[in-house]
């Protein structure tokens, strides 16, 4: 082969260009076929959300007035408050700011988030601090011995 070096570099033969194209796309396709399973593997299978619309939050004698407890609603925490004037309030306990779990402040009669000093009133409205949205409010009713919280329809 006596082709001068510079002539070869200037215009690769058509056949070589085809070989490069086929090799290159073959390698790329292979890489994609290795990466795809790995990426799908990394994302965990979704766990089905709890479909129950109501849950027993407490027994009727469990809470004193002006007190609260955290209960589990599906996979998330919720808060049941017995107010000073003997009313039950049930709210989502997940702060709308950055998902900390809120608590009832007996001194303020308000719902407080310890993480960034967010405040909600007893209707779940965000009244002070960083929370951008109100807490989800659940319906509460007493059925026999049970205090039941239910998702609003």
């Amino acid at each position: 082969m006596n082709i001068p070096e510079d002539a070869r570099a200037a215009s690769p033969p058509v056949a070589r260009r085809w070989v490069n194209l086929l090799l290159g796309s073959g390698v790329l396709a292979s890489l994609a076929s290795f990466l795809y399973p790995a990426l799908r593997y990394i994302i965990p299978p979704s766990v089905p959300e709890s479909t129950s619309r109501s849950v027993v939050a407490a027994k009727i004698n469990e809470l004193k007035r002006n007190a609260a407890k955290i209960f589990q609603f599906g996979s998330k925490p919720a808060i049941l408050i017995r107010t000073a004037d003997d009313q039950y309030k049930a709210l989502s306990a997940v702060c709308t700011h950055l998902s900390c779990t809120v608590q009832y402040r007996e001194d303020l009669h308000q719902v407080w988030c310890a993480c960034h000093n967010g405040l909600y009133d007893l209707e779940g409205r965000n009244i002070s601090g960083p929370p951008p949205r109100p807490l989800e409010v659940f319906d509460v009713h007493v059925q026999g011995e049970d205090v039941i919280a239910a998702r609003k329809t």
């Binding site: 790995a38 799908r40 990394i42």
Partner: protein, 361 residues
């Protein structure tokens, strides 16, 4: 204005001397002769090791190393996680193929006398790597916490316990207690994902550094033909000629791994129950079979020693001699092939194959 790629290369070159690396690549060569094919097995083993690291990291995303969760978490990977069966099966198959290619690499180096001066330490680091790889196999086998693995580990660790004086201590060290329990699983998990990877990385770096520094060994038989003028010394550039050939092999290995994983997904078996009887047909992984069979055939007393301990002592001594071969076989050199050591190698290989085959009789 130069293209971005050239400018980045230039930037790196200004700081780290990338050009010297390119220079090094240009000058690295591989001897070309009728035994060159054996040079590929080291690179293949390294490639499979990389596969092990990558799939191992992926398995860590779901695996839970406790006796209550381990089996269920592997089951979850195999049945629920998308492509989980593929990742775990590739990890298991690749582990076995890696032990196979490492063994081929070791025996080819042995028979081609590549361990002779100046490559004694390359041989020693390679043998230590092989022991580390067997350690990976032994510890990884327990992690799915299934019946087979549970009893294999019980037997395997009990062997350590039969060593006089330090046996009791060794057993406790391996098991994290008197019995194979959750403590053993925690320990084996730690060995498998932290201790052994650390050791392997260090030893691998030393091994590769030595290979780079000393280059590939030309077998004495070829060297002899060259000095006698019956063959001319030929070389192949490492980059890109040898590396591209390497990569074709790796690509094929990936295909084989994918096919094996798809056609023969690795079994999980049943969850280990420490208070159930050992099922019939219990045996270790194939690479431990020759030791397993030897111990089965040994009588309970050999001379004044316990049969068990005699076997372990024999294998330990044989292993030590094998590691020390470059320092014992000092005659081997330019034109003198010590037939004794070739014979010893054939005997060892024959013994391993025969004993392993006897298990299936």
């Amino acid at each position: 204005m130069a293209s971005p790629l050239i400018r980045i290369t230039q930037w790196l070159d200004d700081r780290f001397g990338a050009a010297s690396f390119q220079e090094f690549l240009r000058h690295k060569t591989i001897p070309l002769h009728r035994h060159t094919v054996w040079y590929y097995f080291g690179g293949m083993t390294l490639f499979l090791f990389v596969i092990q690291v990558l799939t191992g990291i992926l398995l860590l995303l779901y695996y839970r190393p406790t006796p209550n969760d381990a089996f269920e978490s592997v089951q979850y990977v195999m049945t629920q996680v998308r492509f989980g069966w593929l990742i775990r099966s590739v990890h298991s198959w690749s582990a076995n193929l890696m032990i196979f290619t490492a063994s081929v690499h070791m025996f080819s180096v042995y028979f081609l006398k590549a361990y002779r001066k100046p490559r004694e330490l390359t041989w020693v680091t390679g043998m230590l790597l092989l022991f580390i790889v067997l350690g990976f196999g032994f510890t990884g086998y327990l992690l799915p916490w299934n019946t087979l693995a549970f009893f294999a580990t019980k037997v395997g660790t009990q062997m350590g316990g039969s060593v006089p004086v330090v046996g009791k201590w060794l057993l406790a060290f391996l098991r994290g207690g008197d019995e194979v329990t959750g403590a053993t699983l925690t320990r084996f998990f730690g060995f498998h994902v932290a201790v052994l990877p650390g050791l392997a990385t260090t030893m691998l770096a030393a091994h590769l550094l030595l290979v780079q520094r000393l280059g590939m060994s030309v077998p004495p038989s070829v060297e002899k033909r060259i000095t006698e003028g019956r063959e001319t010394a030929k070389l192949m550039p490492f980059f890109p000629n040898f590396l591209l050939r390497d990569m074709i092999g790796w690509y094929a290995a990936l295909g084989v791994l994918g096919a094996l994983a798809a056609i023969f997904p690795w079994e999980l078996g049943t969850k280990a129950d420490p208070f159930a009887s050992a099922p019939a047909g219990i045996r270790p992984e194939w690479y431990f079979l020759f030791m397993f069979q030897t111990l089965k055939l040994l009588p309970s007393k050999v001379l004044f020693l316990d049969g068990e301990f005699a076997g372990i002592l024999g294998f330990s001594l044989a292993g030590l001699v094998w590691v020390a071969v470059p320092f014992i076989d000092r005659q081997v050199g330019f034109s003198r092939i010590t037939r004794v050591f070739t014979g010893l190698g054939i005997f060892a290989l024959g013994y391993i194959i025969m004993m392993s085959a006897l298990v299936f009789k």
